[in-house]
Symmetry: C2
Subunit: 192 residues, 2 copies
């Protein structure tokens, strides 16, 4: 890899990692706002859980003077689409050959399994090599159950995942993929 | 109303209001933990949304040095129960004769209507006169559409609402009421 002469390698790596992480989040937030405006779905990113260490009051209300980020025990996005519960986590990796599983906290993996058990729609959205894949929760759990690897090979994501194509508006129309991937769940629903 | 001699009326009012507000939240959190442990439902209080004004880094990670609370645009609790999307808001009022509608932000009311439209289960849990009522989202919207009052009379809550009784474990078994109130939705589901 080539880096601009005046930047060292670590700086570039850190910078581009967080930058791309922000990008996917921004893209999904924009997409969710689009769905909200078009009244297609109600899907929101949950606020990051924080622990309050010092709170004071002024004329405008409560002010947080010290707080820290807590580890999430659920996935970042959840909501309602065509009468179904939807939940997902979105992650970016700079790895080119695999997705490190440690990106998903153990509590989140346990939670994902529970969502499956309670008949919710749950998946991961993974950005790797500038491509965005939807990986069904069941396929993620299958991988965990059948592999001792600490990362999911890019091959697996290409084979089992569903490519979410970039578009103009919405930017990342992942519900189009959800419609295809989970069509039987919606079909059952509509036949009631 | 009688107040202890050494406390002025406003102080008592403010203190007991926030204290009881915490109580209901604590009771619901405890109940949700019970449901989680018993694998009955996955229902969580959303973290309060905050705006970050100043964040720094140390060896442990990110530290928030200044932040403020933002107004929520969804309801406080949401999750998954028997394959259905559930969302609700919980509020305590010290009023004895009515529940002031301003306790629910206009954005939250709009959101509640959208959840109904997208076939989610949505309701309010209101604590008034030390009793806890579940008011269906549809009955709340009916009241808003048919009244110019700025508060919901206690009578209406007693007539249209469903009393959630206090118990030992779980403290507030509101899903028992949800089962009764929304039984047709679950029935439809189970006949698939």
């Amino acid at each position: 890899m080539k880096y601009p002469n005046n930047l060292n390698k670590n700086f570039v790596k850190t910078f581009s990692y967080s930058n791309r992480g922000m990008d996917l989040e921004a893209e999904l937030n924009e997409t969710n706002e689009y769905y909200l405006e078009k009244d297609q779905a109600l899907i929101f990113k949950k606020p990051t859980p924080i622990g309050l260490a010092d709170v004071s009051y002024n004329e405008k209300g409560r002010i947080i003077n010290k707080a820290y980020f807590k580890e999430p025990s659920t996935l970042d996005y959840n909501g309602l689409y065509k009468g179904k519960y939807i939940e997902f986590e979105a992650k970016v990796t700079q790895n080119k050959t695999s997705f490190p599983i440690q990106n998903i906290h153990p509590h989140q993996i346990e939670h994902l399994k529970k969502v499956l058990k309670h008949h919710g729609i749950v998946f991961l959205i993974i950005k790797i090599n500038d491509l965005v894949y939807l990986l069904k929760g069941t396929d993620f759990v299958d991988f965990l159950n059948n592999s001792t690897r600490k990362s999911i090979p890019y091959d697996y994501l290409q084979t089992k995942g569903y490519l979410i194509k970039y578009g103009y508006n919405p930017v990342l129309d992942y519900l189009k993929i959800v419609d295809e991937v989970y069509k039987e769940e919606f079909y059952e629903k509509s036949t009631i």
